[in-house]
């Protein structure tokens, strides 16, 4: 069969067989592996991982040291909002040319940093190393030290050449870099009931909504890391009494550093869906052990749920029984989405993540229904295979998954960080339901070939049973 002809059979690569698992199959599941070459993974690289984690720190200068490609594809594409500085929305690069690849790029980096700091007056600078920098032997640390001294602005190297690993490796490098700022600020005046919101990137203003919940129940948010992030907040975040970690893949390392060196306990939370958002509020209230906090938290949850439940119920009526596939970055989000979909009366038949770990997947496997397929580090062909085999009605993913869904006449909901709509918190659940419903219930799908074929089949069956 030729490659461009329609295909009914898509095989999973042998190398990847153990990363595809069906609940109830009794087989072993493998994850946390390097991507197989040629598999067309949906993952990016270590550079991408560190770039996206630090990106929302709005009053810092972010400069990519390397040839232009690495910097240009992430220029102002993410939905992380800032309440003030918009400096992070620029794409700065040393844009190394051949002569610098041969003779070194240190001079250009130094000049770039000095000029940019003078012009934009950032509170700190992050310097991202790309593949090339690792190879040509530029001493980025030395340049950063030199420029820090000259300008009195912290210049922090981020060790993130793409080949170092997956996004996860980059997350680690980002945490290490961010941690350089931690502990350098004044923590006086911070409430004993205080938290850092970690792994919350303020997509469409989500961090603002969540911060407001905590403030309403009497808990101070010292820093959101890194959504609507500020250098000075990072400097004093060690003054918080508790770390709540949402996107665990990206932020656990920083939270652990804060636990080890500043004694701040960490708890994993999620803000997707009513259940998880409520739980996240209770987790903090419970931690501080003040009954008044819990009382207020319960009241808030009651109020919020009452506000949105009637609307959610209306959506549920229309979405009930629909089948969903989801493929997202981290497993904790997948976990929440399964629950959120359930709240809408929908069933998850395929769930996967780019970078989940064994512990994450264990949880995911536990909450999924029997027969659900779970995939780690999947690719377009596998995803298409299961979309077809499972007769999926809705796909939840990011830009790279979107055309798979749309080509096959399947509804789609963007749950990646390029989206501009808040999906977290109680209000976010309503947006989520709305996003799902707008696509699933659209009248256009009847024209898609897959649906026409299905309709034809049903009509033939009816005709067959009606004929004598």
């Amino acid at each position: 069969m030729k490659a461009d002809e329609p295909t009914k059979v898509i095989q999973v690569l042998d190398d990847r067989a153990a990363q595809v698992w069906t609940k109830g199959s009794g087989e072993a599941f493998v994850c946390d592996r390097k991507s197989t070459a040629g598999s067309v993974t949906q993952r990016a690289c270590a550079f991408c991982g560190s770039r996206v984690v630090l990106y929302p720190i709005a009053d810092a200068l972010h400069i990519v040291h390397g040839p232009i490609g690495c910097a240009v594809y992430n220029w102002d594409i993410r939905g992380s909002l800032s309440s003030g500085s918009q400096l992070h929305r620029n794409s700065f690069s040393t844009d190394l040319a051949e002569k610098e690849v041969i003779f070194g790029g240190e001079k250009k980096l130094e000049a770039s940093l000095l000029e940019l700091i003078e012009y934009y007056k950032p509170k700190a600078a992050f310097v991202y190393s790309t593949c090339i920098v690792g190879l040509i032997g530029d001493d980025v640390q030395a340049i950063c030290r030199k420029v820090s001294k000259k300008t009195n602005i912290d210049c922090i190297p981020v060790d993130s050449p793409g080949f170092k690993g997956t996004k996860k490796t980059g997350y680690q490098a980002a945490c290490e870099a961010a941690y350089k700022l931690v502990g350098t600020g004044d923590t006086s005046g911070i409430s004993k009931y205080s938290i850092n919101l970690m792994g919350e990137f303020n997509i469409g203003g989500e961090a603002w909504m969540i911060r407001e919940y905590y403030e309403r129940i009497g808990i101070e948010v010292v820093a959101t890391i890194t959504g609507d992030g500020r250098v000075d907040d990072l400097r004093r975040c060690h003054g918080a009494a508790l770390n709540l970690v949402q996107c665990s893949g990206s932020m656990t390392h920083l939270a652990q550093l804060l636990e080890e060196e500043h004694g701040i306990p960490l708890k994993r939370v999620s803000f997707f869906g009513f259940e998880d958002t409520a739980q996240a509020l209770y987790t903090a209230a419970e931690h501080f052990g003040d009954p008044e906090l819990m009382c207020k938290a319960e009241e808030l949850v009651r109020d919020e749920i009452a506000k949105y439940t009637p609307k959610i119920k209306a959506y549920r009526k229309e979405l009930k029984g629909k089948k969903a596939a989801l493929y997202v970055g981290g497993a904790f989000k997948a976990f929440s989405l399964v629950l959120a979909l359930r709240a809408l009366g929908m069933k998850t038949v395929l769930a996967g993540t780019q970078t989940g770990n064994a512990e994450d997947y264990k949880q995911l496997q536990d909450i999924c229904d029997p027969g659900t397929v779970i995939v780690d580090d999947s690719n377009p062909l596998e995803l298409a295979k299961f979309v077809l085999e499972k007769e999926v009605d809705l796909f939840i993913g990011g830009v790279k998954e979107r055309p798979i869904a749309f080509k096959l006449g399947v509804a789609f909901c963007d749950h990646n960080h390029e989206r501009k709509i808040p999906l977290a918190g109680f209000e976010g659940m309503l947006h989520f339901a709305d996003e799902v419903a707008k696509s699933v219930l659209s009248p256009i799908w009847k024209f898609a070939p897959r649906h026409e074929l299905r309709a034809l089949k049903i009509n033939t069956q009816i005709a067959d049973t009606e004929s004598p």
């Binding site: 490659a3 461009d4 002809e5 329609p6 295909t7 898509i10 095989q11 690569l13 190398d15 390097k34 991507s35 070459a37 040629g38 598999s39 067309v40 993974t41 990016a44 550079f47 991408c48 009053d59 200068l61 400069i63 390397g66 040839p67 232009i68 690495c70 910097a71 240009v72 594809y73 220029w75 003030g84 918009q86 400096l87 794409s91 700065f92 690069s93 844009d95 051949e98 690849v101 250009k108 000029e115 003078e118 012009y119 593949c131 090339i132 793409g162 080949f163 997956t166 377009p380 062909l381 295979k385 830009v399 790279k400 055309p403 798979i404 080509k407 006449g409 024209f447 070939p449 897959r450």
Partner: protein, 464 residues
Amino acid sequence: MNPDNTTAQGTPAEGELPASATRNACKLCSPLGAAMVFKGVRSCLPFLHGSQGCATYIRRYMISHFREPVDIASSSFSEEDAIFGGARNFEQGVENVISQYQPELIGVATTCLSETIGDNMLGMIKSYQDKHNSSGPPLVHVSTPAYTGTHSDGYYGAIDQLVRTFAKPMTAKIAGHVNILPAMMSCADLRHLRELCELYQLSPTILPDYSATLEGSSWGEYHRISPGGTSLEEIEEMGSATATIEIGHTRAYLKNTPADYLEKTSSVKRHALGWPLGIRHTDQFVTSLSQISGNRLPESLKDERGRLVDAYADAHKYVSGKTAAIFGEPDLVIAQAAFLSEIGIRPIICATGAKVKKWKQLLSSEIEGGVADVEALSGTDHAKISARIRELKPDLILGSSKGYPIARELSIPLLRIGFPIHDRFGGQRILQVGYRGTLAAFDRVVNALLENKQDTSETGYSYL
């Protein structure tokens, strides 16, 4: 307020403009251009030899513009591979691609990483093929380190490699067979180029032709690789054409282009032409088609040309004396500048991120009325372009979505053309070739100016 001239404190940035760093690049990297070309070959899978991020970033960028599946494989370098070379990963990657996609061709583009460590692509391809007794699909490779050029170079480079690798030297000619080597155009442009050839009874091999692979129909079943594109056989037979039309002003001055190669190896006559946008350039294009086919201008085209001249007359006063800033790939910018000057708009800023030798000179040969008032910026970035736009305040900006921040800041209409367009729909089907494409482009320009005038007027007439 624009992030490119505002400090972290939200105050206007002052002092000397930073010159060393690139601020908001007006270019993409060369492997992207190569991948786009490989997407235009039938059953071809693009393969980037380097770190995983390169392939993923490029996929996402292309998907956001074309809104189609764009699968690009990678050899997914690890730290070890970066030290010891990527041969092992390359081989494994190619095998996996063959087993998953069953492609008829694998188009390999290198990356900064593999180029810098000095991976010998040709050697690796040969050793792979030797090991497999040359069974399996052929592989072609193009060298695309991002530190030597832009996506435009990757685009032309991949066409060049495809032709040199696969086109067989041929002496026998097939009447009516013509090759078209387009600049980086939209899917609609490529379809219309074919239509124009067919109007002259010519049968074209267009390389690349991603008009269907990057703008296809809805599917009932999944296709491993999007249907469409120029087949390998067609590329092999390019030597049997009587002529090659090579589109792109910057290409016309070059020797050793793929059209030049076909001329030398198979006596296929090279027609080096500009982008057929505007009456002058479309006239040149159809003249070439006439010469190649021996057929006269078809009535339908004559009518289209007539309607275009008539439309110019109807609306000329609304555009006359206006000024514009254009940015994008060199050939796109020259084409637009030629067109705008033809209708009486002054292209006062002509900017490209690529470093183009004699940029102003190239522009001067195409801009009617001289280039005394034209700022020709090459090797530039969006922050610098914005600074010039603030100073010169043109009436119109033409370019990709990346012009939006400055257009918004100054309330200047932005006409989206080129790549990437990811804040509007339909970037893949903007037509700007031929008389028909020129008419569409002309209407867009006129209406953008009218809309702006209407929106900012006090009275707001609905009758203009």
